[in-house]
Amino acid sequence: MPAGLGARFQPRFFEANYWISLTPMNEQIATQPPEIVALSAPPSLLSSSWTRRIRMGDLVARGITFLAALSVLVITVALAWELYKGSVPSIKEFGWKFITQKTWDPVFLSFGSITFLFGTLITSVIALLLAVPVGIGAAIFLAELAPRAISSALTFVIELLAAVPSVIYGLLGIFVLVPFMREHGGASLKAALGFLPIFSGPNYGVGVLTAGIVLAVMIVPFIISISREVLLAVPREQREASMALGATHWETTWHVAMVYARSGIFGSIFLALARALGETMAVTMVIGNTPQISASLFAPGYTMAAVIANEFTEATGDLYLSALVEIGLLLFVMTMIINALARLLIWSTVRKQGAAA
C-alpha cells in the first residue's frame, strides 16, 4: 500500500478487502492455541481471576479501538460543521445562485462556483478514463503474468511514484508536458480530430486536457498498487478450480480472479478518484486557472481545490472568505456523494456476485 493514504479512506479500503480476507482469518482461528478457544466455554469452568483479567484486556482493547474509530467520525463531523459555519454569510447572500452562477468576481463581490465544479469534474473524469485501463492492465500483468523478479522491481518503482509530491508532478507538467501538448500531442489531436468540439479552439498547451493527463499519471500508481494487492489475495483454490475445469491462464485471470477481486479494484479506483478530486498543486500549475465552461478540452479551466489554494491567502473581506469556504464545503459534499455512489456500486456488485454463486 502506498504511503500517505488519508485516514478517511481506510474504512472503505478495508471493507473492500473484507471479502478477500475472510478465508485467511478462518484458517488463523483453526490454528489458534487451545487456551483461547476455551474462552468461549462458560466462565464457571475457569478460575474467576483468570477470566476477569482476560475480560479487562478485552474491554481495554475494545475501548481503545472504539476511541480510534470515533475520532475519525468526530473529525469528519467537526470539519463539516466548521465548513458550514464559515460559509453561512455566503449561503445567505447567494443561496442556490452560488452553485449555478458563472461569475467569480472578488472586486465586485459576486460569486458563483459552477465553473469550478465543472473544472473539478471534467479533469477527474479525463484522469479516470486514462488511468483506469492502464492501472488495471498493469496490475493484472504484475499480479498474474510477470516473472517474480520483474514484478517486485516494478512494484517498487510504482510505489515510489505514489510518494512523489504533487508539486513535482506540477513542475514536470509545466516544463515537459505543456510544451509537448502544444507542439505535438495537442497539435496532432487537433489535426486529426479538430472537427470535434472537444478538440476545437486554440491549443495553448495548458488547459483541461493537460491537467487531466497530469492527474492520470498521479493516480495510476494508486490503482496499480491496490489492484495488484487485491489480485494477489485471490485464493489459490479459486484459480486451481478454474484451471481444473480447463480454463486457460487468461480465462482464469479475467473470469475468476478479476471477478473475485472486483470490489477491491473498484475500491482502488474510487480512492484514486478521491485523490484526483482533491488534487490542488499539480492541477493549478497546468490548467490555466480561468473560470469558464468550455466544450474544448484545450481550453483553460479552474478547479475548486485550486481556487481555494490560490485566493485564500490574499482574500480580505468576510464575504469573499466565506465564498471560498463555501467552495470547500461544496467540494466536501461532492466527495461525500461520490463516496456514497462508490459504496452503492461495490455493494451491488458484491450482492450480484453472491447471488450468482
Binding site: 461569475t103 472586486v107 509545466i174 490555466g288 480561468t290 490560490n310 491567502t313 490574499e314 473581506g317
Partner: protein, 344 residues
C-alpha cells in the same frame, strides 16, 4: 543499581542544561508579524541584521500573504502586519485600536512578453496595456503597439495574456494602475489582489506567470520587477504620466515615490501608480508595515518603535542589494514624525 544511579545523574544534568539555557531565552523580547510575501526577503534580512545588533530581540515574520496578515492583525494574533496594498477604510474600522501604515520599500510590476523573433525592448502606452488586458487588442501588430515601436517589426501573432492566478500584491499594483489610466477598466474589472480577468491564462506565482510566458509564443504577462531582474527576463518600457517611456529600475521607482511624496497623506495610504515626474516609472508601489497605534505591552512597543526608526534610517541601505527601491528622503522624514505617534 549503580547503572541506574548513573543514568539518573545524566538525566538530571541534561535537565539542568535545559533550565540554564531557558533562562536567557525568556528574557528575550519576541515580536511576531505576518503578511505580504513580496517584501519577505528584505524583511527577513532586516530582522536578522537587527537581531545581530540586539541579540536579545527576536522578530519573527511569516509571509502568509497580505490578506492573511491583515486578518491576523485584526484578530491581534500577531504584533504587526504587512501588506502590499493599503488597508481599506472598512478594514480599519474593524480594528480595535487604530492601525498605522509605514511604507518600508518600493516595488514595481513590469510587462514581460515572448514574441518569436523580437528581442527589442517594447514601448507600451497605457492604452495599449489596457487594450491588451481587456482583450480588445488581440494581435501583436495592432497599430496601438506598432505606433510606439517604429523600429521593431511585430508579427501578426495572437497575443496570449497571462496573469497571476493566486491573489497577490503584484496583481493589486497592476490592476490599480490599469484602473487609474482607464475608466473602462475601473468599472468593468476594478482593482484587487484577485480580479475577474476579461481574458487570459492564469499562472501561479511569479514563476508560474514566467513559465507560461516563456513557453507560449505571443504571450504577455506581468511580474514583479525584482523577479524580472533576478531572472533576467526581458521587459518593456511604459509611458508615464509625463508622457515619457520609462524602463523600470530602482531609480525610476524611487523617483515615482518622490513624485508622489508631495501629496503624501498623513496615514501613508497612497497609491503611487501613474505618479507625476519625468523619470517616474508608472507601475510602482509602496509596501507597508501595519502597526497598531496603541501597543499594550510596553516592552514590545519600545522594540517596535526602535526597529522602525532603524528601518527607515540605516536599514534602508540593505534594500538595493536585494533589488528593492529604497524610500525617498521626503518620505523618510515624514515617517520619522509618524513613528512618534505610536503609544505604549
Amino acid at each position: 543499581m549503580k547503572n541506574i544511579v548513573r543514568a539518573l545523574g545524566a538525566i538530571l544534568m541534561l535537565l539542568g542544561l535545559f533550565v540554564v539555557t531557558a533562562v536567557p531565552a525568556r528574557a528575550q523580547a519576541q515580536l511576531n508579524g505576518a503578511g505580504a510575501t513580496f517584501p519577505y526577503p528584505i524583511y527577513s534580512k532586516w530582522f536578522d541584521e537587527y537581531h545581530k545588533m540586539h541579540p536579545d530581540i527576536q522578530i519573527n515574520y511569516q509571509s502568509i500573504g497580505s490578506g492573511g496578515g491583515i486578518r491576523q492583525l485584526l484578530e491581534r494574533t500577531v504584533d504587526f502586519g504587512a501588506s502590499d496594498g493599503p488597508m481599506t477604510d472598512e478594514q480599519l474600522r474593524q480594528a480595535k485600536t487604530p492601525i498605522l501604515h509605514f511604507p518600508t520599500v518600493l516595488g514595481a510590476d513590469v510587462p514581460t512578453y515572448n514574441i518569436p523573433g523580437v528581442n527589442a525592448e517594447l514601448n507600451f502606452t497605457p492604452d495599449a496595456l489596457v487594450g491588451i488586458f481587456l482583450g480588445r487588442i488581440t494581435k501583436w501588430n495592432d497599430p496601438a503597439i506598432t505606433r510606439e515601436n517604429p523600429s521593431v517589426t511585430l508579427p501578426a501573432q495572437d497575443i496570449v495574456v497571462v496573469h497571476r492566478s493566486d491573489g497577490s500584491g503584484t496583481t493589486y499594483i497592476w490592476t490599480d494602475y490599469l484602473s487609474k489610466v482607464s475608466t473602462e477598466w475601473q468599472t468593468k474589472v476594478g482593482k484587487g489582489t484577485s480580479v475577474q480577468w476579461p481574458v487570459g491564462l492564469g499562472g501561479k506565482g511569479n514563476e508560474g506567470v514566467t513559465g507560461v510566458v516563456k513557453q507560449t509564443p505571443g504571450a504577455m504577462g506581468y511580474v514583479e520587477l525584482i523577479y524580472a531582474i533576478q531572472n533576467k527576463l526581458p521587459y518593456g518600457r511604459v509611458k508615464n504620466a509625463a508622457g515619457v517611456f520609462v524602463k523600470a529600475d530602482l531609480n525610476s521607482v524611487t523617483e515615482a515615490a518622490q513624485g508622489a511624496a508631495a501629496n503624501m497623506p498623513d496615514d501613508f495610504r497612497v497609491s503611487i501608480t501613474n505618479a507625476p515626474g519625468k523619470g517616474s516609472y508608472p507601475i510602482s508601489s509602496f509596501t507597508w508595515l501595519l502597526i497598531p497605534q496603541q501597543i499594550t505591552a510596553a516592552d514590545k512597543g519600545k522594540v517596535l518603535v526602535d526597529f522602525l526608526k532603524w528601518m527607515v534610517g540605516d536599514g534602508q541601505k540593505f534594500a538595493t542589494a536585494l533589488a528593492y527601491a529604497p524610500l525617498p528622503k521626503a518620505v523618510v522624514a515624514k515617517e520619522e514624525k509618524a513613528i512618534a505617534r505610536i503609544k505604549y
